[in-house]
Symmetry: C2
Subunit: 235 residues, 2 copies
DNA sequence: CGCGACAGTTATAGACTGTAACTAAATCAA
DNA sequence: TTGATTTAGTTACAGTCTATAACTGTCGCG
C-alpha cells in the first residue's frame, strides 16, 4: 500500500489528505461541486478552518486533485477491463466490454463522472496530466480499430486524424503504442468517435437527463458501439 | 416587441430584468457559472445589492432564467433551420442541417451551451419547462427518421422507445406531432441517438476538450450524423 | 388627491475563501 | 541530549457573497 516506508510524519500527512478527500467526495456526492466547502470539511475532520490549507493550497487544488483521482480511477477500470479480456477477443466484443466498463464506473458514481466531464471555467486551466489520463482511458479502445475498414461517412475524420498524427509526434507515439504503424489514423478516428459516444451517452445518463425515459443507458450505449463497430467493419 | 401595451412600470421592470440578465451573461462568459454574482451585477447596474432581489428571487432563479432562455433560443435556432429547408429535403440532408444549426449555435456561445448541458446538482431540480424545451429542440429531427429502416444494431433502442411511447401518453402525442402513427418508436430512437450525438460532439467541443487536436468539431458531427443516417437507411 | 403597491435604501446575519501572525510539537543534526 | 528547524495547528481578521429585515420614498391608479 501507499505510505509504507515513509517517514511517520509524511504518512500521517497522507492519511489526513486522504480523509479530507474522502469527506470532499461525500459532499460532492450530496450537493455537487458547489457543496464542497473547506470550512465544513475542516469541522468534520476536527480541524479549524485554515488548517486545511496545510494540506491543499486552495479549494481549487482540492477539486483538481479529486478530478485527477477520478480520471486515474476510470483509466484503471478501463485498463482492468481490457486486461481481463481473453487474448483473441474480437474487436467488437472488446469495444463493448470497454464501453460497458466506462458506463459501469460512471453509473456507480455519477458525481465523480460529472466532475471529470464537468464544465471547466472559460479560462480553462487544463492540467496537463488530464490529457495523459484521457489517453489512458482511450488507449485500450484503439487496438480494436486497428484492422478496421471505415465507411465513407467517417473517412473525413480518419483523414484529419492521420494528418494530426503526422503533425504531432506525441500523439503518433501514443497511437503507435496501441496499434501497428499505418493504422494510426483509423485508430485515432475510432478513438475520438468512441470518446464522443461515451461522453454523449454516459454524460446524459449521469446528469439524470434520461430519468423518466423508457430506456436504460446500457441499451443505448451498446447500440452506439454496435453501430460504431459496423461502421469500422469489425467482427 | 415584448413590452408594448404594458403599464409603464411593468415595462421598466422588464427592461431592468433584461439588463440584469445581460450582465449576468457577460459574467458567465467571462468566468463560468461561478462568476455570476448578484452583488457585482447590482454594482454594474447602479443598484445596491439587495435591490436585485426585487427582480429575481435568488441567484438560482436568475441562473434558471438564463437556462430557460438559452434552451428556448437553441430551440428557436433549430426550428428556424428546419423551417428554412425546402419542402422536399431528403432526410439525411435535413439531419445534417439541423445538427449543424445546433453546433453553430453552441460554437457561437459555448458558455450558454455549457449552461444548458451543465451539471445539475445531485438533487436535481429539473424545471418542467426544460423538458418541453428539450422536446422543442429535438422535435424537428424526428420527421427525418419516420421512414427509416434501422439496422439490427439499434433495434433494441427502437423497441424500448416503442414501449415508452406506448406507456407515456405525453410522449406519444409529442412523437405523433412530428411523424405518422406507427413510426413513433423509430423516430424516438433516432431522436435519442441524435441527442446523444449532439451532446457528445458539441459538449466536448464547447468544453474545449478538442483544442489541440487536429480536427474540427464540424467534421466529427457531420460524420456522426452521416453514420446515423446510414444506420437508419436514410437517403 | 390620497393611498397602496412597488423600487430602492441601509443594516445585518451568516457562510465561505484565504492570509497573517503566532504557538506548540515533532524531527533531525551535531 | 540538546537545540534549531520544519511542520501542524491555532486564533484573528479581511473580503466576497447570498439573503433577510426594516424602513423610506415615489409612482400611478381610482
Amino acid at each position: 500500500m501507499t505510505g509504507s516506508q515513509l517517514t511517520p510524519r509524511a504518512r500521517y500527512r497522507e492519511q489526513t489528505r486522504a480523509e479530507i478527500k474522502e469527506i470532499a467526495l461525500r459532499q460532492l456526492a450530496e450537493g455537487g461541486t458547489a457543496a464542497v466547502a473547506l470550512t465544513r470539511i475542516a469541522k468534520e475532520v476536527g480541524l479549524s478552518g485554515p488548517a486545511l490549507y496545510r494540506y491543499f493550497d486552495s479549494r481549487d487544488a482540492l477539486l483538481t486533485d479529486l478530478i485527477r483521482d477520478a480520471y486515474a480511477d476510470l483509466a484503471a477500470a478501463v485498463g482492468e477491463a481490457a486486461g481481463a479480456l481473453p487474448p483473441g477477443t474480437a474487436p467488437r466484443a472488446r469495444l463493448q466490454a470497454l464501453a460497458a466498463a466506462c458506463r459501469d464506473w460512471a453509473a456507480a458514481q455519477p458525481h465523480r463522472y460529472l466532475l471529470i466531464e464537468g464544465t471547466p471555467v472559460p479560462g480553462y486551466s487544463a492540467p496537463p496530466d488530464t490529457l495523459e489520463s484521457a489517453r489512458a482511458v482511450l488507449g485500450p479502445f484503439l487496438p480494436a480499430f486497428a484492422q478496421g475498414a471505415p465507411t465513407a461517412a467517417v473517412r473525413p475524420v480518419v483523414e484529419q486524424m492521420t494528418a494530426w498524427a503526422a503533425g504531432d509526434e506525441a500523439v503518433a507515439r501514443w497511437a503507435r503504442a496501441h496499434v501497428p504503424a499505418g493504422a494510426e489514423g483509423t485508430a485515432l478516428a475510432g478513438g475520438v468517435l468512441a470518446w464522443t459516444h461515451l461522453h454523449g451517452a454516459i454524460g446524459l445518463e449521469a446528469a439524470g437527463q434520461f430519468t423518466g425515459m423508457g430506456h436504460d443507458g446500457g441499451t443505448l450505449l451498446t447500440a452506439q458501439f454496435d453501430v460504431l463497430a459496423d461502421t469500422f467493419g469489425l467482427d
